[in-house]
């Protein structure tokens, strides 16, 4: 029964953009209809997904809906529907008559295809849904394809996503060979080590490309930065998670993983986490910066998954449970707070028409609700209490500590590097989000753009507030969602007997609630006391003191680039920033300027030069392909003769 609700929800999303195609381009009716249809579809889908937990899991040769599917389905239904509402103001049809219809058509399709991937039990259906998702995402990224930067980001995405698809074809072909059917079932125990390793590595590369795992992340920063903000939220919040979904699924099918698989995922996750946030610190573009944080969070999720794999190799149910539940909960959490952040970044861009952090500043006064939502999202993404990011990182931390053999006989010393690395990621994230929050919302406006702004309307703040509410709910009452993630652990690890693990026993979820509430209550109490004290003693207002300087201007503020300068200096060996500084100046120097930017090390440092080199080498053979049909016939004859001789 409940699976039909999910199918209906998917159907609603799939067709939501179609009616608008037959409306006039300057009328908003089609957009409103699409949003309502999306909301109905999401409501049906969420009811169906939650309802399916109370009935035996649907599993046949085409469709399989278990706890892992449900965990991924819920954000897939929630976030795009909210993004649609947000789009009512952000991408109003009447203001975008050339691309609004296209955007909504593919927005609905990508949502439906994402949901389709998570319920597919058959590799053909999986790949069909996967390709619809990948292609729709291409059209979403290139919404404004008249801009050269946008179409370039789009092509880069298309190349990477098809490299991923290529890996998946190979992966599913191998699976078909082993199991003898296209249905995705657990692989037999007697699988050869080489074959199993090949399947695992293909999954890591194929799904890692989609998820944006460093160094496979090359498409991600450009695509997220160039797409409209609600599309960026959808991509960062749910689309890249489908790569994690695939990796989680394939890992659960493989029997007896060797220890190094988990180790590989842990190392890959750590690299992705640390470098993702380090590159984020170097960015000046608000959305590009948020995109690199997706790379970071995918890294944290992969660390959790790696921990679960290590746990399986060591036969440690506690590590499996903490790692996988932490990873899956972080999938939710990142979807929630990253969507808040992209929505509020979109509100800023909508109000100021710029996403250069160093041109913004002081927006908290004119846009208090957006600033509050961004602040809460920022605290959450740094993994700080009392919000949801803390809960998932706590689970992963606990699992990592336990995996090196603390409080248990068997352990693996190899994961000892991971908890300090996670701490480093957290501290760097704090640095980065202080930089963004301070640069965009605090201080004084640095340009005319940022001076005359208005608060975003209810269409835009409403979805943000809903998501912030979800962040607070998970952060303060993790016990509410713990049973679902326990179900996910059982669905993932078939050798665990039901009831073998209990997240409540393994992690101090009650204490998390207590500490979160205590924190909020104490902050409120201290705030009230301070307010009373100030009312008693009196307050005055004046300009910022600034060490006695009488005429400070907005341009004297610390910019986000100066804020990041020391950290960029610490990581100069990997960031390799390009700095264009003015050289020595004559006595009365003319106007000069300073510029710096951090190019992507994989894309700009390795891929582009190697492709350029490859093009140079191969172009010397271009004379062979001169467009002369006689020459081509000659080649064929020569080739056939060679074949005959070879026989």
């Amino acid at each position: 029964m409940s699976e039909w609700l999910i199918f209906l929800g998917i159907g609603c999303h799939a067709v939501s953009g179609v009616p608008g195609l037959f409306r006039r381009r300057d009328s908003d009716a089609g957009q409103k209809f699409a949003v309502v249809l999306g909301l109905i579809g999401s409501a049906l889908g969420i009811v169906g997904a939650v309802g399916s937990l109370w009935q035996p899991p649907v599993a046949n040769s085409v469709i399989k809906i278990d706890a892992i599917s449900v965990i991924f389905l819920l954000p897939i239904f929630l976030i795009p529907a909210l993004g649609g509402v947000y789009g009512l103001t952000y991408w109003k049809q009447a203001e975008h008559i050339h691309n609004g219809q296209k955007l909504r058509l593919f927005y609905g399709l990508v949502t439906a295809a994402l949901a389709g991937v998570t319920i597919a039990a058959n590799s053909i259906l999986f790949l069909v849904a996967w390709e619809i998702m990948a292609l729709s995402a291409f059209f979403l990224i290139t919404t404004e394809d008249e801009d050269r930067m946008v179409s370039e980001a789009g092509w880069l995405y298309l190349v990477t996503t098809h490299t991923a698809t290529l890996c998946l074809f190979a992966l599913f072909a191998l699976l078909r060979n082993v199991t003898g059917s296209f249905t995705l079932v657990a692989l037999p125990d007697g699988l050869g080590a080489g074959l199993a390793t090949a399947i695992f590595l293909l999954a890591v590369i194929g799904f890692g490309l989609k998820a944006g795992l460093m160094p496979l992340h090359v498409w991600l920063p450009g695509a997220h930065a160039m797409a409209p903000s609600h599309v960026s939220a959808l991509m960062s919040g749910v689309l890249i998670k489908i790569g994690i979904y695939g990796l989680v699924r394939i890992c659960s099918l493989l029997p007896h993983p060797p220890l190094w698989w988990g180790g590989l995922l842990l190392v890959a996750g750590t690299i992705s986490g640390v470098l993702g946030v380090v590159f984020a610190i170097g960015q000046h573009d608000l959305k590009r910066l948020l995109a690199y944080h997706s790379v970071e969070n995918i890294g944290i999720i992969t660390m959790g998954l790696g921990l679960a794999m290590v746990g399986r190799s060591l036969h440690r149910a506690d590590c499996v449970a903490l790692g996988l539940a932490g990873a899956l909960l972080h999938v939710w959490n990142h979807g929630l707070f990253k969507s808040v952040l992209f929505f509020s970044a979109g509100a800023v861009i909508h109000a100021t028409h710029t996403c250069e952090i160093d041109r913004l500043g002081g927006l908290a006064k004119a846009m208090p609700r957006t600033a509050l939502c961004f602040a809460i999202g920022a605290v959450a993404i740094c993994g700080l209490p009392p919000l949801n990011g803390f809960v998932s990182e706590l689970l992963i931390y606990l699992g990592l500590f336990r995996s090196i053999g603390i409080g248990h006989e068997t352990g693996w010393a190899g994961s000892a590097f991971a908890p300090p690395a996670l701490a480093l990621i957290g501290a760097l994230a704090v640095a980065c989000f202080v930089k963004v929050f301070g640069g965009v919302f605090l201080g004084v406006a640095r340009s005319e753009h940022a001076r005359h702004v208005r608060e975003a309307d209810a269409n835009m703040t409403g979805p943000m507030l809903v998501l912030v509410g979800c962040c607070l709910l998970i952060g303060l009452a993790p016990l509410l969602v713990a049973p679902l993630f326990e179900q996910g652990v059982y669905a993932w690890s078939p050798d665990l007997a039901t009831g073998a693990v209990s997240l409540v026993m393994l992690a101090p979820l009650r204490w998390v609630s207590v500490a979160g509430l205590a924190l909020i209550v104490l902050i409120v109490v201290a705030g009230v006391l301070l307010g009373l004290r100030l009312r008693h003693c009196g307050t005055a207002s004046s300009g910022t003191w600034d060490c006695g300087y009488a005429a400070p201007t907005a341009r004297m503020q610390y910019t986000s680039s100066s804020f990041a300068q020391m950290l960029v200096g610490c990581f100069v060996w990997v960031l390799r920033p390009r700095v264009h500084a003015p050289g020595e100046q004559p006595l009365f120097s003319r106007a000069t300027q300073f510029r710096s930017h951090v190019p992507d090390i994989v894309l700009d440092g390795a891929l582009r030069p190697s492709f350029r080199f490859g093009a140079k080498i191969t172009s010397s053979f271009r004379f062979l392909q001169a467009g002369n049909i006689h020459a081509y016939l000659f080649y064929i004859v020569v080739f056939l003769i060679l074949l005959l001789l070879w026989r």
Binding site: G438, T544, C570
Partner: protein, 302 residues
Amino acid sequence: MSHIIVHIVLILGLPPLLLGVIGKTKALFAGRVGPPLFQAYYDLAKLFRKGSVFSTTTTWVFRAGPIVGLVTALLAGMLVPLGNHSAPVSFSGDLILFAYLFALGRFFTASAALDTGSAFEGMGAAREVTFSCLAEPALFFGFLVLAKLSGSLSLTGMLDGPFPKGWGVAGASLVLVAASLFIVLLVENSRIPFDDPNTHLELTMIHEVMVLDHSGPSLGMILYGASVKLFVMGALLMRIVAPFESGNAWVDWGLFVAGMLALAMVIGVVESVMARFRLVFVPTFLVAACLLSAFGIVLLLR
């Protein structure tokens, strides 16, 4: 129950005394009389009676900074065992909450500094968050050593179990961890040789330059919060370095207080005999602290 009350009273009441002891020690070295031992209490009382001036550029974030900084330090104080007495709140995993509470405080104090729009405070905020990035891994390597030694994932369990016998089993690791935590303590609490809490106007300041614009009760909260942070991190370090137990619960409290005062004196001595390092060397020392405690865990896991 009475011990919990003593714990809370000590966390709330004792921290400013440490500042007084540090000040007295430094005065002694300089051959001055120095401010009275209870000067920090007088300062706090004065600040809480004064009015405040708020910059017109600031928002709610500026007012929230000191509050969050103080509340997080006090809550972290509820998690840390004082001497031989376990903490009032203790659960498996509380060490992560302990570290992240300080991070939450840092997020808001640094944001509050940026809220003033002053280049000085931006500079301080940038340094504060940068140095913490390097201090955090050092702290976690230290936690790994303690957790591995004790088999526990709560601060109380970690610091109760292996001491003082842990010194016999893994003395080398503990020395490394203690040295690393001492560096972290000095950096995080803005002490010489990494930072100078006494001079506000120099461009090399870290923590002090962030709070230039705060005044009155807000400034009082910042001073108080900073002293609580010093006290809490000091308690952690002293439990490792001097795990003395007398057998009598009340004597243990006395031992703990004496230990904290001794730590304050050591900090005062360090501040007196050393000059401040150039700012560019601070990251180097923090990386060294990381490596020290990393060696500690390697020694244990070998």
